[in-house]
C-alpha cells in the first residue's frame, strides 16, 4: 500500500503557479515529442476536437526530424518519484507514457521525397520510377535495393515498370482500325492510350477506369493496367496525362496514405478530418506490456496500438474483449437479469411472459415452479399458495441459480461503473459548456481577466481525462484476477474516483459561488490529475513487469 496518498496535502500556498492553460500549448511545435504529462493536458474525445487552432498547421518546417532517427528522441530522464510530484507535475516522462512524434502532411511528404531522392540516386532510376518501386516494396528501401541489385529486370517487371521509361513520354494516339475492347467504339478520330504493355483502350474508357479505381476503390499506388491479365502498374506520368485535376488531389492523397499505411511505426490520427500522422516505436508484440497512448497535435488522445480512444490502463487485448462483451451483453444482460430465470435443470434462460407458474422448459422438458424453482411434481394441485420455500429441491435450485447469476452480477457491477463514468463525462462536459458561457458574462461584469477564469477550463479537462481513465479501470478490473496488487489498484481507483466526484460536485455549484471556490477547485483539479498519474504509473509499471494476473489470456 505504499503507493497511495503521496500527495494528500496539497500545496495551497502557490495557486498562481498552478499550470494555467497556456496559450502556447497550441503553438507547440508539432515535431516535438510530447512526452509531458502536463496537468492541464487536454482530455480525450470530441471534447477538444474543436480546439484545433490554425496556427498548429503552421507546422515548423525547419525542425527536420528524420523519420528514421527516432532514437535521437530518447527522453531518458529519470523517473520522478511520487514524493517529488507534490509541487507540480514536471515535464518528465511517466511510466505510462510512450515516446512519439507528430508529423504534418508536409513533413510526411518531405520524408517520402527524401527517401525517393536517396534511392533514386542509388538505383540510377528517375524519381517517378523509384517512387513506384518503393511503394511496390512497401517502402522497405533495403529490400528494394537488394532486389534491384540482384535482379534488376525482374524487380522492374514486378513493379510494373517493364522497360525503362526514360524515353518516350506517354501520349495519346489515333490508331487505324482500332476498336476499344471496353466500350466497343471505333473510328479513326478516337483518342486512344496504351502504356508500354500495349493494351490499348479509348481514352474515355481509360479515364473512367482510373476514376473508378481512385474514387470508388481508393486505390493509388497499385492500379494495374486495364488490360486483361496485365499486371503493369499505371505510372505517375500516365496518370498525370489521363486524370483530371480534381482527381489528382485525391490521387496524391491516397499515395501519401500508402506511405503511412505501409510503415509499421506510423499511424494516422483517427480523429475526424485530422491530417496528422504519429510515429511511435511500440510494436504489436509489445502491446501486452504497454498501453501506448499518444496525443495528436489536434488534441486527440488515442492508442497507437489500436487507434481507439485513450484506454489506459487497460491493454488493447482487454479492451477488445471488453468492448465485444459489452456489445454482446450489456443491454441484454440487464434485461436478462431483470426478467428471466434459468431452468433449474439445464440452465437455459427462460422468460416468463405471462400465464401460469407451471413452467415446462422447452429445451429439457423439465417441469418446475416459477415462484420457488422447485420441481413441479412436488407441488400437487395446491401450488397457488406456494408455501414451499423451505423445500430442499427448490432451495438447491435457487442456489445453483444464484451461482450462475453471480457471474452476471459481477459483470454488471463493472459494466455499470464503466458506463456511468462515460455518461458522467458527457454530463460534466455539458455543464462546462453552460458554465463557460456564464463565465464569459462574469468576465464582462466583474472585469476579471480571461486567465483568471481558466481554472474552470482546467477543471473540466481534468474531469474528462480522469473519467476516461476511471472508465477503463473498471474494464481492467473486470479481467483482473485477485492478488496483492489488486488491493493497491483498488485503493488508487477509489482515491481517484473520490477526488473526481468531489471536483465534479463543485463543478455543479451555481455560477455565483464558483468564484469563491476558485482556489479549492484548482487544488482539487491538480489533486485529481496527480491521483490519475499515480494510478496509471502503478498499472503501467506492473504491466511492464508482467505482475498483473488476468482471468483471460491476453
Amino acid at each position: 500500500m505504499t503507493l497511495k496518498r503521496a500527495s494528500d496535502d496539497i500545496d495551497r500556498s502557490e495557486p498562481a503557479k498552478k499550470p494555467t492553460p497556456d496559450t502556447t500549448l497550441h503553438t507547440a511545435l508539432p515535431a516535438t515529442p510530447l512526452t509531458t504529462a502536463s496537468a492541464n493536458m487536454d482530455s480525450d474525445d470530441e471534447f477538444n476536437s474543436s480546439q484545433v487552432s490554425d496556427d498548429e498547421f503552421m507546422a515548423d518546417q525547419d525542425s527536420d526530424v528524420s523519420i528514421e532517427d527516432d532514437s535521437d528522441f530518447d527522453i531518458d530522464q529519470d523517473d520522478v518519484g511520487f514524493e517529488s510530484q507534490d509541487k507540480d507535475i514536471k515535464p518528465t516522462k511517466q511510466t505510462y507514457e510512450v515516446d512519439f512524434i507528430v508529423y504534418s502532411p508536409d513533413q510526411i511528404q518531405g520524408h517520402q521525397d527524401k527517401q525517393v531522392d536517396e534511392v533514386s540516386n542509388i538505383l540510377g532510376q528517375p524519381p517517378e520510377s523509384t517512387a513506384i518501386l518503393l511503394r511496390h516494396e512497401r517502402w522497405n528501401k533495403e529490400r528494394l535495393i537488394d532486389h534491384y541489385m540482384e535482379k534488376q529486370e525482374e524487380t522492374l517487371e514486378s513493379a510494373g515498370l517493364g522497360e525503362t521509361s526514360t524515353t518516350n513520354p506517354p501520349r495519346l494516339e489515333h490508331v487505324k482500325g482500332f476498336v476499344c475492347d471496353i466500350c466497343c467504339e471505333d473510328g479513326p478520330d478516337l483518342d486512344t492510350f496504351a502504356m508500354r504493355c500495349g493494351h490499348r483502350f479509348c481514352v474515355d474508357c481509360y479515364k473512367q477506369y482510373l476514376y473508378t479505381k481512385i474514387k470508388d476503390e481508393g486505390e493509388a499506388a497499385r492500379i494495374r493496367c486495364p488490360g486483361d491479365g496485365c499486371n503493369r502498374i499505371v505510372d505517375h506520368k500516365s496518370l498525370d496525362l489521363l486524370v483530371s485535376s480534381d482527381l489528382q488531389a485525391r490521387y496524391h492523397e491516397l499515395l501519401m496514405r500508402t506511405y503511412v499505411d505501409d510503415k509499421e511505426n506510423l499511424r494516422w490520427c483517427p480523429a475526424p478530418n485530422c491530417v496528422y500522422a504519429i510515429q511511435c516505436g511500440v510494436r504489436d508484440k509489445d502491446l501486452i506490456r504497454t498501453v501506448p497512448t499518444v496525443r495528436c497535435d489536434c488534441s486527440h488522445f488515442f492508442c497507437f496500438g489500436c487507434s481507439l480512444n485513450d484506454h489506459q490502463p487497460a491493454p488493447c487485448a482487454l479492451v477488445r474483449k471488453w468492448l465485444k462483451k459489452c456489445e454482446d451483453d450489456s443491454e441484454t444482460a440487464n434485461w436478462i437479469s431483470a426478467n428471466t430465470k434459468e431452468c433449474p435443470k439445464c440452465h437455459s434462460t427462460i422468460e416468463k411472459n405471462g400465464g401460469c407458474n407451471h413452467m415446462t422448459c422447452r429445451k429439457c422438458r423439465n417441469e418446475f415452479c416459477w415462484m420457488c424453482m422447485g420441481v413441479w411434481s412436488e407441488h400437487g394441485t395446491s401450488w397457488y399458495n406456494c408455501n414451499r420455500f423451505e423445500e430442499k429441491s427448490g432451495h438447491d435450485a435457487r442456489d445453483a441459480q444464484a451461482r450462475s447469476r453471480q457471474s452476471l452480477e459481477r459483470y454488471l457491477h463493472y459494466y455499470n461503473r464503466f458506463a456511468n463514468h462515460e455518461q458522467s463525462a458527457k454530463l460534466d462536459k455539458d455543464i462546462y459548456l453552460k458554465t463557460e458561457k456564464k463565465m464569459t458574462q462574469l468576465q464582462n461584469t466583474t472585469g476579471m481577466s480571461w486567465i483568471e477564469v481558466q481554472f474552470l477550463d482546467a477543471a473540466s479537462q481534468a474531469l474528462q481525462q480522469c473519467r476516461q481513465t476511471l472508465k477503463w479501470t473498471y474494464a481492467f478490473a473486470y479481467y483482473l484476477a485477485r492478488n496483492n496488487l489488486t488491493e493497491i489498484f483498488e485503493e488508487n481507483q477509489k482515491d481517484l474516483e473520490m477526488a473526481v466526484e468531489n471536483l465534479s460536485e463543485m463543478f455543479e455549484k451555481p455560477i455565483d459561488l464558483l468564484q469563491g471556490l476558485k482556489v479549492e477547485m484548482m487544488d482539487k483539479t491538480s489533486y485529481c490529475n496527480k491521483r490519475r498519474v499515480i494510478l496509471l504509473n502503478d498499472t503501467a509499471d506492473n504491466l511492464q513487469k508482467g505482475n498483473w494476473e488476468f482471468n483471460v489470456t491476453l
Binding site: 467504339e185 473512367q208 486495364p226 486483361d228
Partner: protein, 153 residues
C-alpha cells in the same frame, strides 16, 4: 447507366447468343437489360448432374468498370455459393479487384460452369462446406446430390 455500357451489354448478349456455352440458356428482357436470367444444367461430370439451376446476373451501373453480380436462385450445396437466400458468389473474376473492364460475361459464365465441375475450397464463401469438400468428400457428394434432387429438379 451510360449509353456506352448499354451498347456493350447488347453486344455481349449478341456474342453470348452466337456462342452460348453448352448447357446454358440465357433469358434477356429488352426493358431491363441489366438483369439476365440464366438457366444452367449441372455439368454431366459433376455431382450436380441432372440439376437445373436458375441464376441471376446483374450488371452494376458502373459496368464494365465493375464486375457483374452473380447469384444462384436455386439452392445449391457448393463451397463457393453462399448458403442463404442470396446464393451469392464472390471469387476470381467476380471480385472488384480482379475484374478488368475488357473481361466478358461469357468468361464469367464459363467460370461458373468450371466451378460446378471443380469447386474451389481455398477461396470459399462457406468454410464449413469447403472443409467437408476437402476432408470428407463422400459426405459432400452425398449432400450435394441430395440437394440437387430436392431443389434443382
Amino acid at each position: 447507366m451510360s449509353t456506352g455500357a448499354k451498347k456493350r451489354i447488347m453486344r455481349e448478349y449478341g456474342e453470348c447468343m452466337s456462342d452460348t456455352p453448352p448447357g446454358m440458356k440465357i433469358t434477356f428482357d429488352e426493358q431491363n437489360m441489366t438483369e439476365w436470367e440464366i438457366l444452367l444444367d449441372g455439368p454431366e461430370q459433376s455431382v450436380y448432374a441432372g440439376g437445373h439451376f436458375k441464376l441471376k446476373l446483374t450488371f452494376p451501373n458502373e459496368y464494365p468498370f465493375k464486375p457483374p453480380v452473380v447469384s444462384f436462385k436455386t439452392k445449391i450445396y457448393h463451397p463457393n455459393v453462399s448458403n442463404d437466400d442470396k446464393g451469392s458468389m464472390c471469387l476470381g473474376l467476380l471480385r472488384p479487384e480482379e475484374w478488368k473492364p475488357p473481361n466478358k460475361v461469357v468468361a464469367v459464365l464459363r467460370l461458373i460452369q468450371t466451378l460446378l465441375i471443380e469447386p474451389n475450397p481455398d477461396d470459399a464463401i462457406e468454410p464449413s462446406i469447403a472443409n467437408e469438400y476437402k476432408e470428407n468428400r463422400k459426405e459432400f457428394d452425398k449432400t450435394a446430390k441430395d440437394w440437387v434432387k430436392r431443389y434443382a429438379k
